[in-house]
């Protein structure tokens, strides 16, 4: 089995159009969450992390016709293009694969009023993935994972498994989700959105904040300083929208992902800031004996970016690993979950070598991925 490493990457959120920009802003304590008023997304103002559309189009103009691609596609292409900039991986090659992670793709096209010039065919995720893939003249049919909020991590785990078996040399994983009235109204109907920017793991947390983003991570057999060691997915077998109160599924995923590794230095939690999710995660982390491992949630910086979340948050915490800096959980003033875990509340320099990334999603799905830094 081949070892798998992390190559180039990119993040696009309101905090920037590159990983570096996003990281710099985070280290400066900036958040992408703003109060959004006067948008077609919602009749009432609500906090969200939205990417400026004008900037998307301005940047995309250098790459292609802004009218020919949907907002979702433009973001995905911009992210992949930026990640590939300093990469030498052969694109039109059978040993290169593209995996797209998304929950809803071009779902706003269901709204006849907003649909503009795109046919309903674009609603099919395999169509939109093909369009993105063709932009880069990629050889293989893209793979698409649509598995709720674990999609990003699941895509990374899948890429690692495929390279480790020798089926591919390079896997381009892109996770993208944009906000739409469809998605925002749905979360509003769940009464799961906080009226203010989310407070992950805080004792007074009262709901999540939505965000949009696109992130790309290139997995490769070529050695680099970060190795993606292992990963696992699982199910709670409890409820389709409420997480297990015992953290059962996530606990199973953590155990299977971490197997022989005892020295985990950092946990990047899912930390959506809903009452139930953060409690569940604290339970699972505690059951796994990891309650003293420094743990953060980045959702206070980006909001919950759904299909992009696993990738954005992995990349930022991998930067943590590279720079030996713990990033604090913005929005968390006083940690308060059913189990006590070690929530990072202040930036701190610390030697870090091993990252565990967690995710959970609707349907009771869970994922965990383990990354190791090689000096």
């Amino acid at each position: 089995m081949m070892k798998v490493f992390i190559g180039q990457d990119n993040i696009i959120t309101p905090l920037g159009f590159s990983t570096k920009e996003n990281l710099d802003n985070i280290l400066n304590g900036e958040t992408g969450i703003r109060t959004c008023t006067n948008t077609p997304l919602s009749s009432k103002p609500f906090p969200a992390s939205l990417i400026d559309n004008t900037e998307i189009n301005e940047r995309f103009q250098a790459l292609g016709d802004i009218q020919k691609y949907t907002r979702f596609e433009k973001l995905s292409i911009l992210s992949i293009e930026n990640a590939l900039k300093n990469s030498t991986i052969p694109l039109s090659d059978p040993r290169t694969l593209f995996i797209l992670s998304t929950t809803k793709g071009n779902i706003e096209l269901l709204d006849d009023d907003l649909r503009e010039d795109f046919s309903k065919e674009r609603l099919n995720l395999y169509t939109t993935a093909k369009i993105i893939s063709e932009f880069f003249s990629l050889y293989n049919t893209p793979m698409i994972i649509s598995n709720a909020c674990i999609s990003g991590i699941a895509a990374i785990i899948l890429g690692q498994r495929l390279i480790s078996q020798g089926l591919y040399d390079n896997v381009i994983v892109n996770g993208t989700d944009v906000l739409s009235r469809f998605v925002v109204s749905g979360f509003q109907s769940f009464l799961s959105l906080s009226a203010s920017p989310c407070k992950p793991f805080d004792a007074n947390r009262d709901g999540l904040t939505l965000g949009e983003g696109s992130a790309t991570i290139i997995l490769t057999k070529d050695k680099s300083s970060i190795e993606i060691v292992n990963g696992a997915t699982s199910n709670d077998a409890n409820h389709i929208s409420g997480p297990s109160t015992t953290g059962e599924g996530l606990f199973i995923a953590i155990n299977n992902a971490t197997k022989n590794y005892k020295n985990i230095d950092l946990i990047s939690a899912h930390g959506t800031a809903t009452l139930y999710n953060d409690d569940m995660e604290s339970k699972a982390i505690s059951r796994a004996g990891l309650e003293s491992v420094p743990t953060n949630s980045l959702k206070g910086y980006f909001g919950h970016t759904l299909g992009a979340a696993g990738i954005i948050e992995s990349l930022i915490n991998l930067e943590s690993l590279k720079k030996n800096i713990l990033i604090n959980t913005i929005g968390c003033t006083t940690p308060g979950t059913v189990e006590n875990i070690n929530i990072i509340q202040e930036k701190k320099d610390q030697q870090l070598n091993c990252l565990l990334k967690l995710a959970s999603g609707f349907g009771g799905c869970n994922a965990a991925a383990l990354f190791l830094k090689h000096e």
């Binding site: 099919n124 649509s146 469809f182 749905g186 199910n235």
Partner: protein, 204 residues
């Protein structure tokens, strides 16, 4: 590495239930999907009140999995050793269309919860107490080569001892099809190889 076998195959297509390629139950071809699903539920005497809350995609997957797992001896298998690896081409668009309609009145949370394709794996997991590896793929056509290789990977490299895998699809026009396979090392007449995964399409 031991060989893997297809221990059972359930197909739902054209208002008919096929088990191991044999026609077992059907209703009139002009009945709609909802009516067909209810008929299958009643015919096989399934008792699960949550069934009626499910969307079409989940009903399809739930019924297929129920028939697939009947009479299965699960004694030596833990819930986390059972994997669900499934795919379709339309994601949850059938339900997405229904949810979009509720936006003109009051958005329905009970419909919104089903606007993700992997919820079907969730429903199968809950009813059958399955906690193992799980992934939902979107593919234009069922990628038998990839799926057979990936499932093999799970048996070889994770603690997977049993796998439910296949195609669970319903599109916005309500054309539907499932082909669900039960895979394990228990020897059977049908080896788990690409060519034995015969998913045909009714809308080609």
């Amino acid at each position: 590495m031991n060989k893997l076998y297809i221990n059972k195959h359930v197909k739902l297509l054209n208002n008919t239930v096929y088990i191991d390629q044999e026609k077992k139950f059907s209703v009139e071809s002009d009945e709609n999907f909802s009516s067909f699903a209810k008929s299958v539920y009643k015919n096989y005497e399934i008792k699960y009140s949550k069934f009626y809350k499910m969307d079409a995609l989940c009903k399809l997957g739930f019924l297929s999995a129920d028939l697939l797992l009947r009479d299965l001896n699960r004694e030596n298998i833990l819930p986390e050793e059972i994997a669900i690896i499934t795919a379709n081409s339309s994601s949850s668009l059938h339900t997405d269309k229904n949810y979009q309609k509720t936006l003109s009145e009051i958005p329905s949370p009970a419909v919104f919860v089903y606007t993700l394709p992997n919820i079907v794996s969730g429903e199968i997991s809950i009813k059958n107490n399955i906690k193992g590896e799980s992934l939902f793929f979107i593919q234009d056509k069922f990628d038998t080569k990839f799926i057979s290789e990936y499932v093999k990977y799970l048996f070889e490299n994770t603690n997977t001892k049993l796998c439910i895998t296949g195609w669970i699809e319903i599109n916005m026009n309500e054309d539907y099809q499932t082909d669900l396979y039960l895979i394990s090392k228990n020897e059977g007449s049908l080896e788990f190889i690409e060519t034995n995964l015969n998913v045909t399409y009714n809308h080609e």
